[in-house]
Point group: C2
Chain length 241, copies 2
DNA sequence: TTTTGGCTTCTTGTATACTAGCATACAAGC
DNA sequence: GCTTGTATGCTAGTATACAAGAAGCCAAAA
């Protein structure tokens, strides 16, 4: 609730508000359990309750908010079961995606994937050089930047496999995992390791080694859940179940 | 728009309307491409535009409706790519589910699955005995009944694997496949064959044969797409792309 | 001290009115 | 005949007002 308001008035404000809130929730700028009031956000953005309300409905459909009639709307706490099953689904789908990527990848595809990995490496080098000044804001910015590049890699993989629509399905449940990654960028797997795994996957694809690529993807996606127990211990209020 | 109105006034009418419309769209009682008016449905259900509007938003989020500002709201036409990728995702996830079901299934679980299959068989025998009077209404009722039992089987499988949450994710994209099954219950795979496949899967689970169970599930889910080409030829207006 | 009743104040749910944009039809001008 | 301007009737988007229920507070009674 401390946000300014770069909302473009006039056109589909419900959608803009939904997108903005989604990002704030996923990036843990608004914490789990937080109560959100339709009225408050309406005044904050200078609109009526209706667009805010419709934004809330959209986010509730994605499992980010919980609307309790006559009581209030709250940011959903992290559910271990939900995160675990989101990983389960994503792992199954992305393993299938890399199999098809193995079969379809052109040299240009491989080059593109490697270029994304190079960007990731570049970002990490920049980060380590600045790591002396480990202030909160810088950390957040780095986490956001890296997650964007991570997203780009997996999306590109789906594109290579010509499964963009399948990725769109996965993208909707991925937010449940991303929330955890933002909350736990302290105890999370070092980004360097993730980038190395990306490289391994691409290498397997380049070699058309279906079994290896699939196995590597399973290993890669299993990392995310590892941070959960420690995270829950550190901030139990963020969890339910 | 020819529906009566068994809507319970007073409590969360937006949700009731959304559920009802969802069923009508998935079961092809409302056809793809059809224009829906907020105002018309408001008067039909005896409510204001707002609840109808919120129902539309929910269904649009699931890819069943398309809201075009200042133009209208339309039932989404069937997208081959969307259906194909929905199957792709579901296949990947359910194959993973049967693997875990193989590992966890208790004798009671096996018995429960077999009981569902028995119910399916029973329904089919009833259908074949009545098949002389092959009227439209009867066919629809049978299709609905069988799809409900099919749904029950796959849901039960997820429960055995303790992946109910994962199934909830799949359930959201399954509607894209169900629409096709309703539209094409003429040229679709005979239900007897599907039930036989169910039995094969359960048998593999009972034998703890992971590879076989997984393979059987892949075969089982591949059936649905087979009907697409003929269906598109029969009713091209229902498709986009 | 504990409990109970009512009041106040919050919340979301719904209804109604108004705004703005698109599409179509139709008429005027070329 | 063809094009273009315009009026009209539709649509969804938004604003405002009211209704209904939940929660907390506080005072009064047991």
């Amino acid at each position: 609730m401390t946000t300014p308001l770069p909302i473009i008035a006039g056109t589909r404000m419900a959608l803009q508000i939904a997108e903005r809130l989604r990002e704030e929730i996923v990036s843990a700028a608004i914490l789990p359990g937080q109560a959100l009031s339709e009225t408050d956000y309406a005044t904050l953005y200078g609109v009526s309750r209706q667009p805010v309300r419709e934004a809330f409905i959209r986010l509730a459909a994605d499992g980010l908010l919980e609307v309790l009639p006559q009581r209030g709307t709250f940011v959903k706490k992290v559910s271990i079961k939900t995160v675990a099953d989101a990983r389960f689904v994503r792992e199954a789908v992305e393993a299938a995606i890399v199999v098809e990527a193995c079969q379809r990848a052109t040299p240009a595809d491989i080059a593109m994937l490697k270029q994304i990995i190079d960007s990731q490496t570049e970002l990490l080098e920049l980060e380590s050089s600045k790591s002396a000044s480990a202030d909160e804001v810088m950390n957040r910015a780095m986490a956001t930047g890296f997650l964007a590049l991570d997203e780009a890699f997996h999306r590109a993989l789906a594109k290579v496999a010509k499964r963009e629509t399948a990725w769109a399905f996965v993208d909707r449940l991925k937010v449940q995992m991303d929330r955890v990654r933002y909350l736990s960028y302290q105890e999370a797997t070092p980004a360097e390791r993730l980038v190395a795994q990306h490289a391994t996957i691409v290498e397997a694809i380049a070699q058309r080694d279906v079994a290896l690529a699939s196995a590597d993807m399973h290993i890669h996606l299993a990392e995310v859940v590892g941070a959960l127990p420690k995270l829950r211990e550190r901030m139990p209020d963020m969890f339910e179940d």
